[in-house]
Symmetry: C2
Subunit: 341 residues, 2 copies
């Protein structure tokens, strides 16, 4: 298949540090190339890929305050692919934020499919209904349920590069919270769980106002420990050493990449039942999902007792790149067939 994969142009593909969309775009691109497809990646010139790189910009707009308004940069990157539509069988648009692909839907001779990376509002979805034929890929059923009226041609959970997440059989004796310090991510609830269960808790995230105002007063350096922001290597070490990742999420999230990453290191997760959590966690295998903080505090020993080797194995099957590549290839084939039909 001749695939135009249109990445966000905020930074490189893959990203220098973190960036779930950029990471997923890179993994999918490399997986498609490995699968024998003819892939052109529309991304910044400093990106690294085994696909053909089509670069309009030398670098991304996160690194250059002159590249503003950023929307225009994303738009012209997509336009560059659509202008070459005849060279491709499918155009896959990944840039986050909002579906610019709609504006090109009826102007492109090649179908454009867009993966949606955020939870859209009702008003957004109502607007998109102007293009009922435009194909979307959801990143979870949780997100797909929000897309009423849109043409959701598939739900594909993110893949991660499980080879890079080192398995560790014997953890140390702490709980881990890893994510951003926001009310929605439930860091205060994670602290409560640690205190109730008398466990050590390591917090790994970038310092911000929320941290200073709400989290720092709980950090004592012995039971509640602030690690700072973890780079990739540190993240893998923190996962591997944790008896469990605590994920007492307070907002409906369309996915939970950190859950899959922890699992890939063999670390089971203790999560609250909200958003896409049940789609990511295999109850009793890779973790446990609880209805309340009380239940989580009481059930934590059961999470610890899960077989870490099985956690890892299940994570590789469910979140390995190959599954994602296969599912996207099937999506492309469906979209192409549907356009022809």
């Amino acid at each position: 298949m001749r695939i135009a994969h249109v990445a966000p142009v905020a930074t490189t593909i893959p990203p220098p540090k973190s960036g779930s969309v950029e990471t997923m775009t890179s993994l999918l691109t490399e997986g498609l190339v490995a699968g024998g497809h003819d892939v052109t990646l529309f991304a910044t010139a400093d990106s690294k890929t085994s696909a053909r790189l089509a670069a309009i910009y030398s670098h991304g707009y996160w690194h250059d305050e002159n590249m503003w308004p950023w929307e225009l940069y994303e738009m012209l990157n997509l336009a560059a692919a659509v202008e070459r539509a005849r060279e491709f069988d499918i155009i896959h648009y990944e840039a986050a934020y909002y579906p610019m692909s709609l504006a090109f839907t009826r102007l492109s001779s090649t179908p454009i499919v867009q993966t949606l990376h955020h939870s859209p509002s009702r008003a957004e979805v109502a607007l998109w209904a102007r293009y009922p034929e435009a194909p979307f890929v959801a990143i979870s059923e949780e997100q797909a349920a929000l897309l009423s009226g849109a043409n959701v041609v598939g739900t594909v959970l993110h893949g991660i590069d499980t080879d890079n997440f080192t398995f560790r059989e014997q953890p140390d004796d702490y709980l881990l919270f890893l994510g951003r310090f926001t009310a929605g991510k439930g860091v205060l609830q994670a602290i409560e769980i640690a205190k109730r269960t008398d466990m050590k808790l390591i917090l790994a995230a970038a310092e911000d106002d929320y941290y200073r105002a709400k989290v720092k007063p709980h950090v004592d350096g012995t039971q509640i420990i602030y690690f700072g922001e973890a780079d990739f290597a540190a993240k893998v070490k923190l996962f591997g050493g944790a008896r469990a990742l605590v994920y007492p999420v307070q907002a409906r999230e369309p996915f939970g990449l950190v859950l899959a990453e922890a699992m890939a290191c063999g670390t089971p997760v203790a999560a609250l039942d909200l958003g896409a959590v049940r789609e990511v966690v295999d109850e009793g295998v890779t973790g446990m999902v609880f209805d309340s903080l009380d239940a989580m505090a009481a059930g934590l020993p059961n999470v610890f007792s899960l077989d870490r080797r099985r956690v890892r194995e299940r994570a590789v099957v469910r979140f390995g790149v190959q599954r994602m590549v296969n599912e996207y290839t099937a999506v492309y084939e469906r979209v192409i067939a549907s356009r022809r039909g």
Copy 2:
């Protein structure tokens, strides 16, 4: 000519209160229809026009916080016109902010010309150079000079509906400052001019933080008078009663609509020489342009002595709608011929 005129969809065309882009879009649309052209106006459904109205949205995003991100709304409005490209000889895109038209330039079978309503940064212009064929209309030579490398197919000064600006032969005895309260508009310099010349000054603009912090301390209600924000009728009265509009602008502006509006009421202007001022003011006829505040204070009596009837007459010729309509029609013809040629 079959013209698609693509308006901003922030509010109605014409706008309920003020909005220079929306007003100009309306005047041009009506003028083109009056000139016998077949015009389709892409605007919100609550707009009023004698053209054919093509409305995707019931109302504009200024009036609905659910219509967000607004960029997507502008983009889909333009896309709606481009999808019907074959029905038009020319597509004229007016929405402010940034040139979304570029993204459609090579996807549209009909040429798209965009009027640029802001002063672009160098980085923006460098980006646009990716589409050297994309035709732009500048709103002044001052602005056109910033567009190096872009395909500027014409410079068309804004027109105003001079019929609505009532001429007044005998003014009252005050100076007028009308505009936003920003450092760039020079309200503090206007106050200085009033104090130095011992003239009464009326300030007409919406109250804001800058007003409260910087302007209000000077307002005494007798010499320096704050009127508030003027609606259209109040504006015309304020212009007509002023011996001169003071325009001690401190930032390079691509146009100065308030200058043309004052002139249309017969009111001469006293302006500093910056930005597009010399393109709008006919020195010694409709006003005087000064190099410094000192020169303005000294020269104000000469401004007062200008013949208000001649000011009005010149304004009608130079800023009447017909001139703008004629110039845009010529632009369209050039763009169409150039695409064919």
